[in-house]
Symmetry: C2
Subunit: 340 residues, 2 copies
Amino acid sequence: MDNLTVALDAMSGDFGPRVVVPAALQALNCHPELHLILVGEPTEIIPLLPKKYQRLTIVESTSVIANDMKPSIAIRHSQGSSMRIALELVKQHRALACVSAGNTGALMGLSKLLLHSIEGIERPALVAVLPALNNRNTVVLDLGANAECNSDMLVQFALMGVILARSTLNIDNPRVALLNIGEEDIKGLDRIRAAASILKSDKNINFIGYLEGNELLTGKTDVLVCDGFVGNVTLKTVEGLIKIFLSSTQLMTKRNSLIMKLAGHWLQKKMTKNFGHLDPNHYNGACLLGLQRIVIKSHGSANQKSFLAAIEQAILAIKNNIPERIATSLSSALAKSENN
Amino acid sequence: MDNLTVALDAMSGDFGPRVVVPAALQALNCHPELHLILVGEPTEIIPLLPKKYQRLTIVESTSVIANDMKPSIAIRHSQGSSMRIALELVKQHRALACVSAGNTGALMGLSKLLLHSIEGIERPALVAVLPALNNRNTVVLDLGANAECNSDMLVQFALMGVILARSTLNIDNPRVALLNIGEEDIKGLDRIRAAASILKSDKNINFIGYLEGNELLTGKTDVLVCDGFVGNVTLKTVEGLIKIFLSSTQLMTKRNSLIMKLAGHWLQKKMTKNFGHLDPNHYNGACLLGLQRIVIKSHGSANQKSFLAAIEQAILAIKNNIPERIATSLSSALAKSENN
């Protein structure tokens, strides 16, 4: 398939088609080579479309996986759901990637079931590239796919993070750190210390040790690894704080004094320039890394702009051929270790 | 003992006496009823003191517990160390509280060994009152004393948090939440779900459910409970971000244009007013809650201002009689549950 085709789970997320359909139309406008398949209830999708449209197909689904459903139950009853059909389209090579704002656990389970993990990867991880100070970027994973992780999983996340940093950030020898509660060797949890000792002994990994939470956005590392619970809480803490900051600058522009207003607007522009890239709307879309195909998880609360960002993530992952790169790197690493 | 006497571990932390001594002098200036005992190497302390001073005693120590020492080893070799002697002064009722910027694990272990936990509390927790939006405050624990916690510990943290919120924030029926990676019942780790079900069934606890990281500073709860690993990473993430924000406003005041400079200064004032209270310098000092006596842990990197804040925390805890309040509440709760 030569077309750049992405399947969108149009029914999941807090707003379903009301957000997904306009975001899809906007994405088609921006990318003339893009084809989209909207998976959902046609009677809910069609009224949101213009009379004429192109490069857009609707595939009917008959149910939606609820966000508060236990993943194991959701997966058992997933037949006919928008999420499952979108993933099946990827499995059938009718689409190159799937984007869903639905239940994270169900998306993770169904993706593993239908699209399979890359050999050498126990569990896929949610990854995002977070902007850091001095125009640097940091690949952070896991952001919530695996609430608990053992040391092997953390090491696999590190390997995948390195490949992502190389291929999308163009960093030759990415620095890798583990998120911990102290920088000294003895700090933290057993599984983190065990992962550190494996990473330290791997000559192909530029392991720089532990980093604490306050270094998250300082660009001191290119890849930051943690378990999904900690990653999710940390990311959401950052998002919450950014929101508070940006909204406080907005408040200032609503003052009565003209000077205040001007200063407020200037400040808002500055703040948005400096920190706006940390606004969830801008970097929405975490890749479920470690699968044989491309799956992008959008925030459940995504609005049109941020769902568009998730579609852009899918396009980027397709263009960078991420799953294939990871598979190739891992198989050559496995071959090396077998030869030794 | 009627005196308000606090023992300070003068040798620990990144800067030792160079920070602790001036902070001590400042504290004595602010609190005419305060007495301080500086535990440390006299030859390092005395040169930092003015010719005349009062309400300040020096107690000699012969060693310092290093920050990168494994807690179990540190405790075994703690005889004569500044941290241990400061705690012994509290044990001997020569001081009402101890403040140390030293090794967290060692401080936790030695405190338990010398000062004992309150009955009904398995492990003490590091707690701080974080400022939230709308002039609210949130009691957050554990901030790093216990990297791993079981559900019973989380429940005990909640109970202690409630007592702290009642006594220091004057909230009658504090709302309690568990930090989690989703708000739905099924989300998160087994131990968190188990703690939730215990808290839900306790009629004396106003349990409002799970909160995610983005709600950390929004004031949606009065008490927020998490394990020490997550609490530490989250708190440090907040601190790191606040630092980035505040320093960026400082940069603006250094511009060439006068209007920029003025706007920058105005903005800086605003930002400090709105967010300065989140600056680690202002709320430094986490109480090791659940001990029979008062122990305050200061940041290792504390400067004079922030070490002063930690001393203030000790004074506040003494005045509020925190350990006794917790012991009384717990023993009445235990008596009730035995009668049932």
